[in-house]
Symmetry: C3
Subunit: 176 residues, 3 copies
Amino acid sequence: MAMTAEELEQLRQDVRILKDIEAIKRVKHAYFRCIDMANIEELKSIFHRDVVVHFIGGTYEWTLRGREQYLEAIAANFNREVVAQHNGHHPEIDVLSETEATGTWYLHDNFYRLWDLHFVTGTALYRDRYVKEDGRWQILESRYERVYEIDHVIAAPPPLTVHYLAKHGRARSGPA
Amino acid sequence: MAMTAEELEQLRQDVRILKDIEAIKRVKHAYFRCIDMANIEELKSIFHRDVVVHFIGGTYEWTLRGREQYLEAIAANFNREVVAQHNGHHPEIDVLSETEATGTWYLHDNFYRLWDLHFVTGTALYRDRYVKEDGRWQILESRYERVYEIDHVIAAPPPLTVHYLAKHGRARSGPA
Amino acid sequence: MAMTAEELEQLRQDVRILKDIEAIKRVKHAYFRCIDMANIEELKSIFHRDVVVHFIGGTYEWTLRGREQYLEAIAANFNREVVAQHNGHHPEIDVLSETEATGTWYLHDNFYRLWDLHFVTGTALYRDRYVKEDGRWQILESRYERVYEIDHVIAAPPPLTVHYLAKHGRARSGPA
């Protein structure tokens, strides 16, 4: 039995959505890889120029507008004196149209501040919006709220045997 | 060269399976998000009414039958006096038919019991069965065995700066 | 409006690539499950016979050639006196042809050496190559460099309540 034109069109839509979901996951996957390695150059292609950011932690809050502000905040905070690990789990992506999508992610992060000896760890729920422009899916909005956050004061820096950001991150500026 | 009706049918099957795999991953992703936030309402749509659960830990064992029993166990255990993190990695989903599937997941969990000062962490291997009913994939069976489990007695509660379950979880009942 | 033969062929290509991406993720997912459980038998089907491995840690370096050497290294190192957790996040898979693909993964690992009381934890970036032979995607090359590594000396073994490798791993050989 042959497929009708309607069935074929449905199939094409289904495949487009599956491809979009995979493409959006990759954008967010690259995001996590790039922040933890302070790869500012590659992050430029990941954020929409008008990206809106709102992250509510227990010990901080990020409210940012626009790609330049976001890139600067990452470069400043993922500096030589931190160890950063951000893993995004459990994507729930909804493709709303050929150019719009939303996504939920479950963040787990470990973050060592070597300069004032804090180790912050926890989880959060991201609520993102994505837009396809210039043929690429980009992050248009990114918001999260913590599920839990623990802020450990540590007696000494962790015994690091590899520390990528120490070589590739920016020098830290700000209060000692 | 045109496709034969058989080739087209194969393509349609392939796309259905890809959609089912994505849909099943989402169900499990929502499961992890919902247990750690004690979202009992949303969990109702995730479990089949006759769900069977068997989790074998080092310090506990859960043997449950039916959605109501499972929801009650989650509500009771993911209470105000715990901090819960359950992340499911490495899905291996097999779609067996249009309505049946199996899945393997690699769990990593961190669980703080604030009331008796234990921190339990480890990994486990889930072996799940899923069924599609009423147009939705649901969890029909969920079993796991630990790969490792560590049960730390802690001297003090962790220095929490955010604790979602403290506000949204049920009051703990049971021995002090 | 009907699809042209070219459009149909594109659709078929798209579906093949989506299936390949899912198949490759499963190979790597099985890899992580199998190493942490010393499942050498199943690993045989995951590595290409000529697999090349180069892992650069802070406290070790693995340079291996061929499946037998790789399997032996895993069996020797994932022995009864270690606790192993390797989770691969954020896959970025590029399918290059019907039989070739590359992949980037973000590793998070926890590794306890019970015999000399070290706990090593950190992250790394995998750069893999995959090949499809005999109808199966296999790992042809696997390389990683650490993003960070921390090597803790611990005062005592962790309080394990489950330890799969103690029963299923090989006896440790080598210096005490």
